[in-house]
């Protein structure tokens, strides 16, 4: 059993939850603990209740547990929202002048911060308490504080160093007095990576040759955009915030047409606006990569929460018929690799490629061993054109060599109307028009040949098969590990469309197949039925805007075995 401690920090938006979290997570990770963190926040800039769950563990940890060992509420509202999760084992650490509950172990943070000269130091003190509880390295802690506040001048740095020390001593005392009894060994890899889904997607995209990113800000997809904007200072990447999502996708297509490799990052409503542009990508056979970070709909829905509800949208968006690829990474490594691959596949097949994530996935971070990046390369598929170049040359596999303007002797003409080989408008229905349709249809077959196979976790002789895709992977794997039943295997789909041909063989081998999805209908199970004819009757679904916790999934899977 993995020894672990869950800490929940909760407070109003603007109270500084994120700064406390970032200090704790960075120091503990650098000190050799295994760390997992995810956040839940309201769609507001001030007030409400936001929270962060930090799990510190002896072995690596990458899945969400709702259990609460240490609860740090910064306000009564925060306490109230999570009161139901308080168990007899929960330790509540709070300032009893601010928060009221009989179980509180008092941390006089406000008074101590005021004594330092400003209540603003409360957050640093709070972070120090947690670090003291874990007996974290004070050297690492102090270095982090220095880096964090360096820009604000020496006085602020020194005050924060004092603040963190005050907190640290309180934490240490709590530990020594066994108020908080923690014994977790620092067995983590200090050279592991600490990143969230948004980091993995953005860096993966760069590894795959992404050199432009266009977007309109929309939660939860914006974090990838923010990363790209930061990278644009030092890397070859053009970043622009466009006036609307329609402009975003058209800018991306123009960019790809002229030899760039653009990423668009968006969420449900924004992507809905892009669907005509998606269809343009299909018709003009212009590559494009779309990161679609899902959140609950319809319409504005729950803007800051999570759901796997837009698989159907990604599958069927865009009028007319054209091939596409949909990747749904389940962990950070896959997010990195599939994002890179998305660029190469988009270019290779001249189609739109989706990276389907969600709020939980992009906002969750944990430490993982460093990726092997030697095999990940930008592969270019465009050609230097000859004088008589034809953009839509009819070929056996449907893929016409793609030229770009200004490279070679040819002219490159693309058209959203049905066109001939030269890219000129045609209405020759039974001639070239039909040949073009058939050319695009042949690409479906080609794309399918390259589909990634589903990944089986567990033994071949399984009786029960749990299928999942995207962000549920780690939670499902962690749950199954806890069930300790060798009859259960997990079949994960890093690519949800097109499906690999082996899919049906796996399904047929199982006595029982259970789909676990973070949506209300089982969209992926429906897709499996449409493509393979196999009906997944047992579906464990969650759609309140929060990801599954390992604890609740454990109960649900056991019920359904």
């Amino acid at each position: 059993m993995n020894k672990k401690i869950s800490i929940i920090l909760a407070g109003e938006a603007g109270q500084g939850i994120q700064s406390i979290e970032s200090i704790i997570v960075s120091v503990l990770k650098k000190d050799g603990f295994n760390i997992f963190a995810t956040k839940e926040y309201m769609s507001r800039v001030r007030g409400g209740v936001n929270s962060t769950t930090i799990i510190v563990a002896e072995n690596s940890i990458d899945a969400y547990y709702e259990n609460m060992d240490i609860f740090i509420p910064l306000s009564d509202a925060a306490l109230k929202r999570y009161e139901k999760n308080i168990t007899q084992n929960t330790i509540i650490l709070a300032d009893n002048t601010q928060v009221h509950h009989p179980k509180i172990t008092n941390l006089p943070i406000q008074r101590l911060a005021s004594e330092l000269g400003n209540v603003i130091f409360s957050n640093t003190i709070a972070a120090g308490v947690i670090l003291g509880i874990f007996n974290a390295s004070q050297e690492i802690m102090n270095n982090l504080i220095k880096n964090l506040f360096q820009k604000k001048g020496e006085e602020i740095v020194n005050k924060n160093l004092e603040a963190i020390k005050i907190g640290y001593n309180i934490g240490n005392e709590l530990k020594n007095n066994k108020v908080v009894d923690i014994n977790i060994n620092k067995t983590g890899d200090k050279n592991s990576l600490l990143m969230n889904g948004a980091d993995a997607i953005a860096i993966g995209a760069l590894a795959g040759g992404c050199n432009a990113c266009f977007a309109y800000p929309m939660t939860p997809s914006t974090s990838v955009f923010t990363n790209m904007a930061n990278y644009s200072k030092n890397y070859n990447i053009a970043v622009e915030q466009v006036e609307d999502e329609i402009g975003v996708i058209n800018m991306a297509l123009g960019c790809w047409y002229a030899g760039g490799r653009a990423l668009v990052t968006t969420s449900g409503g924004g992507f809905a606006l892009m669907t005509e542009g998606l269809s343009l990508a299909g018709m003009t056979e212009t590559p494009v990569v779309i990161h679609l970070a899902q959140r609950p709909g319809p319409a504005t829905g729950l803007p800051t929460r999570t759901e796997q509800g837009d698989l159907n949208l990604a599958l069927y968006a865009g009028h007319g018929v054209f091939p596409r690829i949909i990747f749904a990474p389940g962990n950070l490594k896959q997010a990195f690799e599939l994002s890179a691959m998305a660029f190469n596949y988009a270019d290779k097949f001249q189609i739109p490629v989706f990276i389907l994530s969600d709020q939980y996935f992009v906002d969750t971070y944990y430490n993982i061993p460093i990726f092997d990046i030697d095999n990940i390369k930008k592969e270019d598929f465009f050609i230097k054109t000859e004088k008589d170049y034809k953009r839509y040359k009819i070929t056996d596999d449907g893929i016409s060599p793609r030229g770009i303007p200004g490279f070679g002797e040819g002219l490159v003409a693309v058209d959203s109307d049905e066109h001939n080989e030269e890219g000129r408008i045609t209405e020759d229905l039974n001639g070239i028009s039909l040949q073009m349709k058939n050319k695009r249809l042949r690409k479906f077959k080609k794309v399918e040949e390259y589909a990634l196979p589903p990944v089986l976790y567990g033994k071949e002789g399984f009786k029960n098969l749990i299928i999942c895709w995207g962000s549920t992977l780690n939670i499902v794997l962690e749950t199954v590990k806890n069930i300790k039943n060798s009859d259960i295997a997990v079949l994960f789909f890093p690519q949800v469309y097109p499906l690999h041909k082996s899919t049906i063989e796996f399904l047929n081998k199982a006595k029982k197949v259970i789909a676990v999805e973070n949506n209300s209908t089982g969209q992926f199970a429906d897709l499996i039925k449409t493509i393979t004819g196999f009906e997944v009757k047992t579906r464990i679904l969650k759609y309140n805007g929060i990801q599954f916790s390992v604890e609740e999934l454990l109960v649900k899977i056991k019920e359904n075995l």
Binding site: K190, S192, L193, L194, M195, L206, A207, G209, N211, A212, F214, Y231, S232, Y235, N236, I237, A238, V239, E240, V242, E243, D244, I246, G247, N250, M251, A252, L253, G254, C255, W256, Y257, A258, G259, G260, R261, E276, G277, L280, T284, I370, F371, I373, D380, F382, I404, P405, G406, F407, G408, L411, V412, A413, V414, D415, S416, D417, G423, R424, I425
Partner: protein, 281 residues
């Protein structure tokens, strides 16, 4: 003289259409500038005007209705060495593409935007366009247009577009020179061009445009924004010529960090990400 950009093929325009005249003007302008054919890209949306690139020997991106500007900007971002010209109609640019028109002016990519302005929808057969004049009766606006027409020049000047001009098909020489200047200008250059739709606009005919336009005094100072705006508000008759130029604006792509020191197009560039990944330790 043979024009390398000229492409002889059947064209889908009505006999007498203003598009023929503007096509000739554009072909002369790009030939006289001696532009590198390989590095010239036309971008258009949808509409009768947007078919123009089909009838030239050029690179082109014929995209969606209203969406030529973001596509053109994307092309310029991928390769600043390309000369990018948008050819569009009044419905495409000022109607469906209105939002992109506003923000592309703010963004100021180094592109030229030629708008065939015939004050009516041609491809969809005669409905009102954003520049249709009040009172025009159409199959949809059966009691006559009552909405105030958009004034693209005044709008562009109000947003400080870096080059704003109006030509007319009946003023071939003037319009050709305006287009040449627009192409040579660094930044977003708008050339709105009056032309007649012989099939669907019985109000604003070739004759009407001749009688209701006049040439701006060439000696006036086009850098005075207030005066340019005042001029842009003049109607019946409408001024033709260069209204406004702002030589101090930096083109969008030159503001991007990656083009600060080099114009090397994106397809020739690489990123080494090892250190970025290591920064996550």
């Amino acid at each position: 003289m043979e024009n390398i950009f000229d492409r002889q093929q059947e064209m889908a325009w009505c006999p007498g259409c203003g598009n023929f005249g503007l096509r000739k003007i554009v072909l002369s302008a790009i030939a006289e500038l001696g532009l590198d054919q390989k590095k010239l890209v036309f971008v258009s949306g949808i509409g009768q005007a947007a078919k123009a690139p089909q009838y030239m020997d050029v690179n082109y991106f014929n995209g969606l209705h209203g969406r030529a500007l973001p596509a053109a900007t994307g092309i310029k971002i991928a390769n600043p060495e390309l000369t990018v010209i948008v050819e569009s109609g009044d419905g495409d640019m000022y109607g469906e593409g209105g939002n992109h028109f506003l923000h592309s002016i703010r963004r100021n990519p180094d592109i030229t935007v030629i708008v065939h302005n015939n004050m009516v929808y041609g491809l969809t057969k005669g409905q009102a366009s954003p520049t249709s004049q009040k009172g025009m009766i159409t199959p949809i606006q059966v009691n006559g247009v009552f909405e105030t027409p958009i004034n693209p020049l005044a709008l562009a000047i109000s947003l400080d577009a870096s080059f704003v001009a109006r030509g007319a098909v009946h003023e071939q020489e003037l319009t050709k020179e305006l287009i040449k200047k627009a192409i040579m200008h660094k930044g977003f250059a708008l050339v709105d061009v009056f032309q007649a739709c012989v099939s669907f606009n019985k109000l604003n005919t070739h004759k009407w445009f001749r009688e209701n336009t006049y040439k701006i005094d060439e000696n006036r100072n086009p850098e005075d924004k207030i005066k340019a705006f005042e001029l842009a508000l003049k109607e019946n008759p409408y001024p033709l010529g260069l209204f406004y130029i702002n030589k101090n604006k930096i083109p969008f792509e030159e503001n991007l960090p990656l083009y600060k020191n080099s114009k090397e197009p994106l397809y020739k560039r690489k990123n080494e990400i090892k250190n970025l990944l290591l920064s996550k330790i």
